[in-house]
Symmetry: C2
Subunit: 401 residues, 2 copies
């Protein structure tokens, strides 16, 4: 149905170019990316729910709501342009203008994104030189450079692409993203940019992208925090010549593939979380409602006690039960069963089959599943989380220098 491409990126998609350069916002590392499609794109985007929204988000939200098409995204790292007042808005608008004029397109076809330190004005002198420089280095294999240029505390470059085989031919979805480990107002943010060459109307693209974001990026937890700058965008330039229609088989396949690439991106963000050493999939099963399932998934994924137990490879099912219990979801504790991968440590009526050795072995691995079955209904969900380590505390308590 779909296949991931080795070393794929946002520029694996037909008609997309990208660049990532150093323009002087950071001390040494790449800090400015431009993503460009040779054809105008339908687009969909999801923005942070945080009440404190950075200037580029406010501008991009307005742009995407008012524009028919998007053709480019300009992104800087090292400075979030958040809590910067009126000047912040002016600066974001200037980034948009510089990018548009460099690409010879209209302002309303350009989205702007920033990540980095909060509360400081952008060094516009550097961006005025940097943006044209980035545009002049746009290439059709620049995805990795762009992925590198949007990193903050990320250790790994996050770049993906996959191809869908449809009767009418091939469609590509490419993507880059950056984690966080957390939102750190002075450091990080979650950003995700996707490209596709499918022909897909804005309304359908929005519907599919929102569903996917809810099932992937909105179900990961590093430390339960939401950044002022979080943003996910998909651009569809139609250059494959293949159309995705509502309620078609193609829509189904496209949706599954979109979920798959976003799930990989979300997991890559969690496993590269600050201080994280383990990637944990939390499956909630047989809940009364979707809402209950998600309340429990979120509570377990966010629990400092569950996350420190994972750090210690401690098969502490009591912490998982307690996290579920404080979630607000409706369930009967005595009906719950809990397993790590396929190994059950708790069955209904508090019947324990705890073999600490087996459980601890599973919890010592780099990647495993926590499954909680509520025995109440048939709704389910999946969340992803990581361990909470001393390294997380060290990174985040370091005095800014």
């Amino acid at each position: 149905m779909y296949q991931f491409i080795n070393n794929g990126s946002i520029t694996s998609t037909k008609g997309f170019k990208a660049a990532g350069i150093f323009c002087g916002i950071k001390k040494k590392k790449k800090d400015l990316a431009v993503i460009y499609s040779k054809a105008p794109c339908t687009a969909a985007a999801s923005f942070t729910m945080n009440k404190v929204k950075a200037a580029p988000l406010l501008l991009s939200k307005k742009t995407i709501e008012e524009s028919e098409k998007i053709q480019a995204i300009v992104v800087n790292s090292g400075n979030a342009n958040a809590c910067t007042g009126e000047q912040g808005i002016t600066d974001a608008e200037e980034m948009q203008q510089f990018c548009a004029s460099g690409l010879n397109i209209n302002n309303e076809n350009v989205l702007v994104s920033s990540t980095g330190v909060i509360g400081q004005l952008l060094p516009m002198d550097k961006l005025r030189i940097g943006i044209p420089a980035a545009i002049s280095s746009l290439t059709s294999n620049g995805g990795f450079d762009a992925a590198e240029a949007i990193m903050t505390t990320d250790k790994k470059i996050k770049s993906f692409a996959l191809q869908l085989k449809l009767p009418a031919g091939l469609i590509t979805i490419g993507a880059i993203c950056k984690g966080s480990g957390m939102i750190a107002p002075n450091m990080a943010t979650m950003l995700a940019f996707l490209s596709t060459d499918a022909i897909i109307e804005t309304s359908l693209l929005k519907k599919l992208f929102m569903e996917t974001v809810n099932n992937t990026f909105n179900k990961i937890s590093i430390d339960g925090e939401t950044s002022t700058n979080d943003m996910a965008v998909i651009l569809a330039n139609g250059l494959s010549g293949i159309s995705i229609q509502e309620d078609s088989v193609e829509e189904k396949i496209f949706s599954i593939a979109l979920n798959a690439i976003c799930r990989e991106m979300a997991k890559s963000i969690v496993s590269d979380g600050e201080g994280a050493t383990k990637l944990v999939t939390v499956n909630v099963r047989n809940a009364k409602s979707k809402i209950d399932a998600d309340l429990i998934g979120k509570s377990i994924a966010n629990s400092a006690l569950v996350k420190t137990a994972i750090t210690g490879a401690d098969a502490n099912w009591g912490r998982i039960m307690s996290a579920a219990g404080q979630s607000g979801a409706d369930f009967e504790p005595a009906k719950v069963s809990i397993s790590f991968n396929d190994f059950y440590i708790l069955r209904p009526n508090y019947s324990l089959s705890l073999d600490e050795k087996v459980a601890s072995q599973i919890l010592s691995s780099k990647e495993f599943e926590i499954n909680i079955d509520l025995g109440e209904g048939s709704e389910e969900t999946t969340w992803w989380t990581c361990d909470l380590t001393e390294e997380y505390v060290r990174i985040n308590s370091d005095y800014r220098s």
Copy 2:
């Protein structure tokens, strides 16, 4: 109006006796307490909101709902009797019976409480010997022994008492409590027990106690977790001969004093939080509504990023803003000002007066205030939190041995 008593305890109150002994649930330390009033008491209690409620809570909740008067509380540490199914209920009932018959009172006059490891059955053989032994060592200065016997990971004994001067004479409120640092299903829980010799009807006592619990114990955060065993109880035996009537001056004074002692208890729990080195008071001011104020207070008090910034004495106001922004409260970010004690780091319109040196000095102290003024309305609230340290992670990721 009121005065704290040096070395006060739950037995500072007329007619109250207590005992704390070792009965063998823990390895060495005291693990069983009995609190007793020579006169039957009106009572009010608050129980955990966690859906997973330990057996003693279920029993005590039922008992206090159905009984006219309470005269004793039996509490063990080292085992939470939580997630123990039917046998857990039977065991809690047997604790109640043993305590009642030893004191020659009815079962329905006894509350039961437990804290410690989850998912293990109580060692009833030890409690059958221990409860009569504790009863035989009840004394009118046994408050400290009882306070010690309810400890789990607490480093300090938590015991308080104060006296109110009323025109009609003196009323005492005494108390013991235990923290947590967190709820740890295999370790800790928040328990608070209070005594008073005021004459006060159940309905009024309930009203005042619930208000107080909401303003104190429900506004502290170590790690945002709620235990399966959390419980706060107040017993009023009337032996002062002084009556507190609804809508009287006495009610006002009693309510203020009750708040004061619970606030001290709540603060003692936070400052003895696991790995905590700092006690931070979070004042939210000029919110549109009480609900908004509390959403913001809670979000800041719970934020891993704010708490690690406090650990590093990092004047990272961006993290405070971001925590407020993700709280769900309604406010305009540009109107916010933030101060540490009296030192403003942020004024409206993102005007910064950040002197890192002064700010860092304040954040390096053992106790300070974070004040966030929303400039929206006139509602306010206070929360208490602590820093998040590597020690917290160490304690909670240690493999249970």
